[in-house]
Subunit: 190 residues, 2 copies
């Protein structure tokens, strides 16, 4: 029998682990966040930054941010970018930045996946600023493709859950595939 | 040398895989979403539902929703809940619902983790409705604890990335731990 235990009213994840890249005061800054994701079927990602954060002003000024997916082997530098503020510590030399022709936000070469996002909306929420960014470019390291297609296991992203970072395990199913098989099975059982 | 390849401007994840639970027309309905996460340091989760979705009206009417974390072994039923609409298919018998004393949204007993959320804000976004819910209760299966603490590997949640579902791999680092170690190393190197 399943016994349910009550835990404190806190969100524990899983959440994605991403490095937001922002140009601030003419140099790249990077901040680690779990508050990033989709909000609809549009090609839009949101990131949430504390209103007082060093990077927040940079997003407002430039109208662009990047979302970079670090691989599991980058866990020390990734966690570091969530520990120290760009206000006190220059994080611009931590990674190799690259830009597309727009040039408004630094992307991280060492991260196997990079999204460049153009801010199209923002709202204040509990002392944070939610920026909604239209995806205007997506880059992936060539080594992360298998037969020309993105291979998430080669990207090797990290998830936050509880007090730890985890990498991906294995494929356990297919989107809009296992559910269709299950539906067909139900129909046969009638 | 790292060669970057351009991909189509689409978000591919990783995103969490959750089952939103909503009471609609007096019975439980469940819908699979990846658009769920945190937006600040508050105990608040957002979910995004298509404005025309069967569940959307239920959230509006009841002012509550649940976020249920299915384990990897539930992949077929989980994907199914993203394939069929509650408008056409009665999904209420698919899982065992349970309620807390508030009784406003069904939680799924078979899911190892459950959040009950009270809607405190909502905004329309690209044909979707984003609901922001204060976490008012968190439940976890007793079997998912190790030495009294939540063990994410026992929850065995799924992530969506590309066209597949993945489970968690292994612990690769600690939050606010590996970054502190890295900071100390930098300070020693001067």
């Amino acid at each position: 029998m399943v016994e349910k235990i009550k835990l404190p009213n806190r969100p524990v994840g899983p959440f994605p682990t991403v490095l937001a890249g922002v140009e601030v005061d003419g140099r790249p800054n990077y901040v680690t966040i779990g508050a990033c994701g989709v909000v609809s079927l549009d090609a839009v990602l949101y990131i949430s930054l504390k209103s007082t954060h060093f990077s927040t002003q940079g997003v407002k000024e430039n109208g662009y941010f990047s979302v970079n997916i670090p691989s599991a082997e980058m866990v020390d530098k990734t966690d570091f970018c969530g520990v120290v503020s760009g206000r006190d510590t220059d994080k611009s030399k931590l990674f190799t930045p690259f830009y597309n022709e727009v040039g408004k936000a630094p992307m991280i070469k060492e991260c196997p996946m990079n999204y460049l996002c153009k801010v199209i909306n923002s709202i204040e929420m509990f002392g944070f600023e939610m920026f909604f960014g239209e995806i205007v470019a997506v880059y992936v390291n060539e080594q992360c493709l298998s037969e020309g297609k993105l291979d998430p296991l080669k990207v090797d992203p990290m998830l936050m859950m509880g007090s730890s970072y985890y990498n991906l395990g294995q494929v356990v199913g297919g989107l809009f595939k296992d559910g269709v098989d299950f539906k067909n099975k139900l129909a046969q059982e009638g």
